[in-house]
C-alpha cells in the first residue's frame, strides 16, 4: 500500500510541488495549509511521514512538531521540516522539538524524493 505523507505548508505552490513530486514517486499525499490544520489532519489519520514548513500562520512548524510528538500515535513517525540555509538556529530547535530530518530550500524535486526515501523507504 502506498505510504501516506502529510504536507503542511502555507504556500500553495510549494504544497502543489510537494504533492506532485511525491505522488509522482508513488506516495499518497495529504495537504494542510498551516500547523493547526496539519495537526487536525494528523489526528484524523495516522500518516507515515509529515513534511512541514516552519514559518506558517496560525500554528508554526515547531509547534506542530511538538504537538505531534505528544500524540502516542506519532511517537516514531518521521517528521521532515523545510528550512533555509540561513536558519541554523531554527534547525536546531526543530531537531530538539522532535524532527527526524530536514530539507533545505530551495530544493529540487529529486532531493525531496531522496530525503523522503531515506526516511521512510520507497
Amino acid at each position: 500500500m502506498a505510504k501516506t505523507i502529510l504536507s503542511v505548508d502555507d504556500s500553495a505552490s510549494v504544497r502543489q510541488m510537494v504533492k506532485l513530486t511525491l505522488s509522482g514517486a508513488g506516495y499518497t499525499v495529504v495537504q494542510a495549509g498551516d500547523g493547526a490544520e496539519g495537526l487536525a489532519k494528523a489526528r484524523d489519520t495516522t500518516v507515515d511521514l509529515v513534511v512541514t514548513d516552519l514559518n506558517m500562520p496560525v500554528m508554526n512548524g515547531l509547534n506542530l512538531i511538538r504537538e505531534l510528538r505528544k500524540l502516542p500515535s506519532y511517537k516514531g513517525v518521521p517528521i521532515i521540516f523545510l528550512t533555509t540555509e540561513s536558519d541554523a538556529a531554527m534547525k536546531q530547535e526543530a531537531k530538539v522539538a522532535g524532527a527526524t530530518g530536514w530539507i533545505t530550500k530551495p530544493f529540487q524535486q529529486e532531493q525531496l524524493v531522496a530525503v523522503v526515501r531515506k526516511v521512510i523507504g520507497a
Binding site: 506532485l20 517528521i79 527526524t100 530530518g101 531515506k118 523507504g121
Partner: protein, 697 residues
C-alpha cells in the same frame, strides 16, 4: 490587452518546447556527443515539467519527470544517448503533446509502456560511455573496505529514525556485512521498548568516499556514536586475533595468551571474559567479509590482468597499420621479382623469407582489425522486438555464431543492410500468429541470424520460417515491369535476384517500407561495395534465407593476375572457379556465339580484349578464366594468366568512381598499376551480352 489564461500560455510554451525537444533528439541521433543538443533536450524537458506542475498539468509533469531524469543521466554522462533512448524519448514527446492537448486523458497504459521502455534503457545502459582519457577525478576510485560502527541516540526511533532504513542505505553503497550488537540491550524489566539499545558493526566495501557513508547518517550524526575506519585488506590481517586487536575489542596480550593455549581463539577469549559473544561474532563477520572481498579482488585483478593484455587503439591507427602493411606487401613483391631476375640464390632465399614474413604480418594485422559480429547482432534485438509489437507478430530472434570475427569496417557497413533484410523478413516473410497456426506452424515466428567462417569469407545469413517467396508472383511482376523477358526459365537463385533490381517492388512493399530510403537494390549495392555477395533461397511455406558472403577484410585480397593485350588486371581469387585454355578450334567455333563449351558445360563469355579494346596482337593460345557471382558463371577470355598476386586494394579516385567494370586498383611488383575487375558487374555484362546475341540470333 486581455491577460491570457495561464494554462493557454503554458500550452503554447510547451508546444515550442516540444518542437525544440524533437529537433534536439533527431539531431542527437547523428551527433550523440553534442553536449549542446543534450542540454537543449534536457532544458526543454525540465521546463515542460516545471511549468506543467505550476499550471496544473500534473499528468504531463509527472510523466515528463521520468524522461527528464533519464536525460539528466545523459547530461551527466552516465548513460549514452543511444538510438533506443532517442526512439523512446521521441515516443515520450508525442505522449507529452497528447497529455498537454488532452490533460484529462485517462488511459495511462501507453504512457506506462513508454516509461517501462525508458526504465529498461536507463537501468541497463547498453552502451556505457567510456571516457576517452579518464582523468583521475573521473576514474572510478578503487573500492575501500570500511569498518562502520555505530549506535543511535536512545530516542532516535521515537524521533522517527528507522535504523533498518539506515542499514538499507549502507547496503546500497557497496557490499556490506552487518552484525547487530545486542550487548547494550538491558534486561527486559528495565527496557524501554521505544529506545534504541542496539549497536551495529558494518563492514562495507565500497567505491564511494567516506563522505557518502557519513551522508547516510546526516540527520542523526550529531547525536550518535559513529566511527568509520578504513580496513587494510591488502595485508594478510585476516586472522581473528589481529582483527579483534585492530578493532580495539581485545588487547594483544590476551590474544597471545589465548593463542599459546591452541584452542579456538574466539571461544577462548569469550570464555576468559575478554570478549563478548557479540563482539566475537562481529569480528568473525568482518573476517569473512575481508576474505570474500580479497578473493573477489583477486578475481578482479585477474580480469584486470586480462584487461592489461589488451589495449585500446584508435581505429585510424589500425587503418594506418593496414596501409603500411599494404605498402610492405607491394615492396616485397617487387623484391621477389628482382630477386628472381637476379638469379642470385642468396638474394632469392632472403626474398622468400621476407615474403613469408610479410604474409604472416598481413594476416596478423587483419586479425587485429576484426571484431566479433555479436556486437552487431545485439543491436537487432530491439528492432525485432519493436517490429513484432508494431506488426502484431510473435517473433523469436535466434543468433548463431556471434563470436565470428569480421573486419570492423565491414561490420559497421553491414548494419543498414541487415536492418533492411530483417525488416523485410519480419514484415513480408513471417505470417501473423493466426496465419501461422492456420498453416500448422507454431504461432511464434523465428528469425535466425547466423555467421560463420568459410575460407577467406564470412557467411552471414538471415533465415525466417515464414511463408517463403512466391516464385510465380515474382516472375509475373518482373515480366510486367519489363525486368525479365516473358517466359524465360530461371533457377530460383536467378529469379530471386530480380528482387534486387531498383525498379522491382510491389505496392505493398513500398507502403510498409516507405520513408526508409533503402531498398533491396541499395542492400545489394552495399554488400557488393563490401565485395560481398547476396543470395536468396526460399521454400514456399517454410521460409526464406538471405545469405551474405563477405570477405574477411577490405584491404588486401588474394588475386589472380591476368594479362589482356599489354594491360594487366587482377581478378579476386575468391570469385575464380577455374582457368582453361581456349583451343584454336573452340575459339573459331565460338565466334558469333554466346556460349563457350567448357567441358560440355555451356558458359556465356566475354572477350576482355574486345571489351578493353586491346590493340596489341592476341596471344596464340587464349585462356578462359571462369568466374562466378552468385549462381551465375561467366568466362573471361584473357591473353595470359600470370598467377596469384597479393593484391593491396587502392580505391579509384573520385573522378573514376563511376567506372563500373573496375572495383579498384593495385600496384604491381614492378611499380605498374593493375586494375581490379568488378566480377559482379562483368557477370551482368556477360549475361546481357548473351541475351543480346540471343535476341539477334
Amino acid at each position: 490587452m486581455t491577460a491570457l489564461d495561464p494554462a493557454e500560455t503554458y500550452r503554447q510554451e510547451a508546444q515550442e518546447l516540444l518542437e525544440q525537444l524533437e529537433q534536439a533528439l533527431l539531431d542527437l541521433e547523428h551527433a550523440p556527443d553534442d553536449t549542446d543538443l543534450i542540454d537543449s533536450a534536457f532544458r526543454a524537458l525540465h521546463t515542460i515539467k516545471g511549468s506543467g506542475a505550476m499550471f496544473g498539468f500534473d499528468a504531463v509533469a509527472a510523466f515528463t519527470h521520468h524522461v527528464e531524469t533519464a536525460f539528466d543521466l545523459v547530461r551527466k554522462g552516465k548513460i549514452a544517448p543511444s538510438r533506443e533512448l532517442i526512439a523512446v524519448a521521441l515516443a515520450a514527446k508525442d505522449r507529452m503533446r497528447l497529455l498537454i492537448e488532452q490533460p484529462d486523458t485517462v488511459d495511462t497504459t501507453p504512457g506506462d509502456a513508454i516509461l517501462r521502455d525508458l526504465e529498461a534503457i536507463v537501468a541497463a545502459p547498453e552502451a556505457p560511455i567510456v571516457p576517452e582519457a579518464p582523468s583521475s577525478a573521473q576514474a572510478k576510485p578503487s573500492a575501500t573496505t570500511w569498518r562502520v560502527r555505530f549506535s543511535l541516540a536512545k530516542d532516535a526511533m521515537a524521533m522517527g529514525t528507522n535504523p533498518l532504513l539506515l542499514l538499507d542505505e549502507l547496503r546500497t553503497l557497496g557490499v556490506a556485512t552487518i552484525v547487530a550488537r545486542t550487548d547494550g540491550v538491558p534486561p527486559l524489566e528495565v527496557m524501554m521498548p521505544t529506545d534504541c539499545h542496539l549497536a551495529w558493526d558494518v563492514v562495507l566495501t565500497t567505491g564511494q568516499p567516506r563522505s557518502a557513508i557519513e551522508d547516510v547518517f546526516m540527520f542523526v550524526i550529531d547525536d550518535m556514536e559513529l566511527s568509520i575506519d578504513p580496513i587494510d585488506t591488502t595485508s594478510d590481517a585476516t586472522r581473528i586475533g589481529e582483527i579483534l586487536v585492530d578493532r580495539g575489542d581485545v588487547r594483544q596480550e590476551a590474544v597471545d595468551a589465548a593463542i599459546s593455549s591452541q584452542v579456538a581463539l574466539g571461544t577462548l577469549l569469550v570464555k576468559s571474559g575478554h570478549l563478548t559473544e557479540d563482539k566475537l561474532a562481529a569480528g568473525l563477520a568482518e573476517q569473512q567479509h575481508i576474505r570474500v572481498e580479497a578473493s573477489a579482488a583477486k578475481g578482479a585483478a585477474k580480469a584486470a590482468g586480462q584487461g592489461a593484455d589488451s589495449i585500446r587503439v584508435p581505429a585510424e591507427r589500425l587503418d594506418e597499420l593496414m596501409e603500411r602493411v599494404g605498402e610492405l606487401v607491394i615492396a616485397q613483391s617487387r623484391l621477389t621479382q628482382v630477386a628472381a631476375a637476379s638469379g642470385d640464390m642468396d638474394v632469392k632465399s632472403i626474398a622468400e623469407e621476407i615474403e613469408r614474413l610479410a604474409l604472416a604480418l598481413r594476416d596478423t594485422t587483419m586479425g587485429v582489425r576484426t571484431v566479433p559480429i555479436g556486437s552487431l547482432f545485439g543491436r537487432f534485438r530491439r528492432l525485432v522486438h519493436d517490429l513484432a509489437h508494431e506488426l502484431g507478430k510473435q517473433i523469436e530472434l535466434v543468433t548463431i555464431g556471434e563470436e565470428t570475427e569480421l573486419d570492423k569496417t565491414v561490420i559497421e557497413r553491414l548494419n543498414d543492410p541487415l536492418i533492411h533484410l530483417i525488416r523485410n523478413a519480419i514484415d513480408h516473410g513471417l505470417e501473423t500468429p493466426e496465419g501461422r497456426e492456420a498453416a500448422g506452424k507454431s504461432p511464434r515466428g523465428r528469425i535466425t541470424l547466423s555467421a560463420r567462417h568459410a575460407g577467406a569469407e564470412v557467411l552471414v545469413s538471415i533465415v525466417d520460417d515464414g511463408r517463403g517467396l512466391d516464385r510465380n508472383r515474382i516472375q509475373a511482376r518482373a515480366e510486367e515491369q519489363g525486368l525479365l523477358a516473358p517466359g524465360v526459365k530461371l533457377s530460383d537463385g536467378e529469379l530471386f535476384q530480380v528482387l534486387f533490381q531498383p525498379g522491382f517492388s510491389t505496392a505493398r512493399e513500398v507502403t510498409s517500407l516507405s520513408g526508409r530510403g533503402v531498398g533491396m537494390d541499395v542492400v545489394k549495392r552495399t554488400i557488393e561495395g563490401l565485395r560481398g555477395k547476396i543470395d536468396i533461397a526460399s521454400t514456399p511455406g517454410s521460409g526464406t534465407e538471405m545469405a551474405l558472403r563477405l570477405p574477411l577484410t577490405l584491404a588486401i585480397i588474394d588475386g589472380l593476375l591476368v594479362r589482356v593485350g599489354t594491360g594487366r588486371y587482377v581478378l579476386p581469387l575468391s570469385a575464380v572457379e577455374e582457368c582453361v585454355e581456349l583451343s584454336v578450334e573452340e575459339d573459331a567455333r565460338s565466334r558469333g556465339r554466346s556460349f563457350l563449351n567448357i567441358r560440355d558445360d555451356l558458359v556465356p563469355f566475354l572477350r576482355l580484349r574486345e571489351l578493353f579494346q586491346a590493340s596489341a596482337p592476341a596471344d596464340r593460345y587464349q585462356k578462359v578464366v571462369i568466374v562466378s557471382s552468385g549462381d551465375l558463371r561467366v568466362g573471361l577470355v584473357v591473353d595470359q594468366v600470370i598467377g596469384n598476386h597479393q593484391t593491396v586494394i587502392k580505391s579509384l579516385s573520385k573522378l573514376h568512381s563511376g567506372v563500373e567494370t573496375f572495383s579498384g586498383a593495385t600496384i604491381l611488383g614492378d611499380g605498374a598499376v593493375a586494375l581490379i575487375l568488378d566480377i559482379a558487374h562483368l557477370v551482368e555484362l556477360g549475361m546481357a551480352h548473351e541475351s543480346r546475341l540471343k535476341a539477334a540470333g
